[in-house]
């Protein structure tokens, strides 16, 4: 039987290669992860946790914000950018600040644009198949607490239950811990198997780009203001660098490319490149990807050109 494990909360509806009964084993750690997402989402929107359906398109907004923000706005990237630019703090602050604003802006826009339509693939696979990926790991599919269809699992003991999983069965903490670890690894493994090949293929494409693209060609067109920004954005997409390392590459263009073009490189890469495009295809529908990519590229271009126009502040 072909099985699918859908994870609407995380915005992922993908073939995990597992069985539905295996999904029972994934329950515990998923409960925690889902509850965290629900909690964070509720804090952002002001709704109560239970008010959310896992299919709520607001989750798309949240996941977009999260996905676009995290690769840029984190301490490691801030430190590497500072190091690469010899502690020129305006560059670091610009990258962090603009990256954060862009992510929030694009997330809100995506949430609004797809308010009435589904942007995520196979989002209702669970409901169609009558299965859920969370539940008590002491029951087989369809039994006991697994029958409950609560939208977000609640991390509190229910009346009469003796365990945090809410199944009513008693079990030792040690066995619980082993079960939870096993469930965590099983679920992580399924996720890895579902998206890992995209990483490998993306890395392969990135290697081809690194091998055949001559970076000096980009310099020959650097004198044209907007063109230099667009070229650096294209380079960021083609090189597929991680956000911890891309600042060093961008810094190597100091004196050769305007700072606005370098900033375009630093903002584009973490949000959109070939590898991410493949990854997005496993999660989002084509229309959503086109819209998301267009929003990212357009906003970065506008910001970078704007920076160019107020040139002199940074130089």
């Amino acid at each position: 039987m072909k099985t699918k494990s859908s994870d609407p909360v995380h915005g992922i509806g993908i073939d995990t290669g597992g069985t539905y009964t295996d999904a029972v084993l994934e329950a515990t750690h998923r409960k925690i992860a889902d509850a965290i997402v629900a909690y964070a989402f509720s804090k952002q929107t002001g709704k109560s946790i239970k008010a959310f359906s896992t299919d709520d398109q607001g989750v798309l907004l949240f996941s977009c914000n999260f996905k676009l923000d995290v690769p840029i706005v984190n301490p490691i990237v801030a430190a590497s950018t500072a190091l690469a630019y010899a502690f020129e703090w305006p560059i670091v602050l610009l990258r962090m600040g603009i990256g954060y604003i862009l992510a929030v802006f694009i997330g809100i826009l995506m949430g609004r644009l797809f308010a009435g339509s589904m942007a995520v693939k196979d989002n209702d696979a669970v409901q169609e198949k009558g299965a859920s990926s969370w539940g008590c790991h002491h029951h087989t599919h369809g039994e006991g607490c697994f029958e409950t269809t609560q939208t977000f699992p609640v991390l509190v003991k229910q009346a009469g239950n003796t365990t945090a999983c809410g199944c009513g069965n008693s079990h030792s903490t040690w066995v619980d811990w082993i079960d939870k670890s096993g469930a965590a690894f099983t679920h992580a493994m399924d996720d890895f198997l579902a998206v890992g090949h995209y990483l490998v293929i993306g890395a392969f494409i990135a290697a081809l780009a690194q091998t055949y693209i001559d970076r000096s060609i980009f310099l020959s067109l650097a004198s044209a203001p907007v063109v230099s920004v667009m070229l650096m954005m294209a380079l960021a997409i083609l090189l597929n660098l991680c956000s911890e390392a891309d600042a060093f590459i961008a810094a190597s263009f100091q004196g050769l490319m305007p700072i606005s073009a370098q900033m375009a490189f630093l903002l584009t890469g973490p949000m959109f490149d070939l590898k991410l495009l493949l990854m997005y295809q496993s999660v989002f529908k084509r229309r959503a990807i086109v819209v998301l990519a267009s929003l990212i590229l357009a906003t970065v271009l506008v910001i970078a050109v704007g920076l160019e126009m107020i040139n002199g502040v940074l130089q």
């Binding site: 009964t21 010899a86 690894f185 090949h197 980009f218 390392a245």
Partner: protein, 249 residues
């Protein structure tokens, strides 16, 4: 008795993760990972090895067989491509081809670590005169020279690197077509930046591209097109063995 297809379904994922576990252990034990990764990141590989092992165990003890079709089998096999690549070309490293694609000239931001003085600063922090004492002459890395170029200007310096002779260098090095170079890695080989010092010598004609050499000569910053270009004047060049760690970090 189980059919081969059932065995494949049961054991493909455990085998994939077992191969990755073994591969990561090999990389760590042999230290081969430094040919594409910063040495400090060995800790991450060690962590990854435990994760791969956990995945392998999870796939093995899974109560039910994973559902699998041709597509999922191919996807699992794709995960082995990096391992196959490494096995097929174990000694591959970045060389002159990568240099030619990545080199964009001597920019003032090529190396800017630790608030290091660039080519435009005038003196070293530890040495107000900006000179390295001759009685402390020892082999330096190209990175050390790039970080403190004025300290070494006019001084005799010894560095180790690879030889490159290419017409493309002339536009960057004021007509000189030879250089000694190494790659600087910040995270992994994907972000490797070539650092090159021009060689003002005819002796390099006797060396092939990517030949590892030790260069002993006078370091200078020649002004070409308004930019300081690092150059070795009249260097003595000697072929040497490839170092255990070919990159600079």
């Amino acid at each position: 008795m189980k059919s081969p297809e059932e065995h494949l379904k049961r054991w493909l994922h455990p085998i994939v993760f077992a191969i990755w576990t073994g591969f990561l252990i090999y990389l760590l034990a042999s230290q081969r990972y430094v040919t594409f990764l910063r040495p400090e990141f060995g800790l991450l590989l060690a962590a990854a090895h435990f994760v791969a092992m956990g995945f392998m165990l999870a796939a093995m003890i899974r109560p039910k067989m994973a559902w699998m079709d041709v597509s999922s089998i191919l996807r699992a096999l794709v995960l082995l491509i990096p391992v196959l690549y490494f096995v097929a070309m174990p000694d591959t490293m970045l060389g002159n081809q990568a240099f030619k694609k990545r080199f964009i000239g001597v920019s003032d931001g090529a190396v800017n670590r630790q608030s290091a003085p660039t080519f435009f600063t005038q003196e070293s922090e530890n040495n107000p005169n900006g000179k390295v004492p001759q009685d402390t002459l020892q082999e330096r890395t190209i990175l050390e020279i790039f970080l403190n170029p004025n300290r070494y200007k006019g001084q005799r310096v010894i560095v180790r690197g690879m030889i490159l002779r290419d017409e493309k260098l002339k536009q960057y090095f004021g007509g000189k077509d030879m250089a000694v170079y190494r790659f600087l890695i910040n995270c992994c080989a994907a972000d490797a930046l070539p650092l090159a010092i021009a060689l003002d010598s005819d002796q390099a004609d006797t060396f092939d591209n990517d030949q590892w050499v030790k260069v002993d000569g006078i370091f200078d910053l020649q002004q070409i097109g308004g930019k300081p270009v690092p150059t070795f004047l009249k260097p003595h060049i000697k072929a040497v063995e490839k170092p255990a760690v070919p990159y600079l970090f």
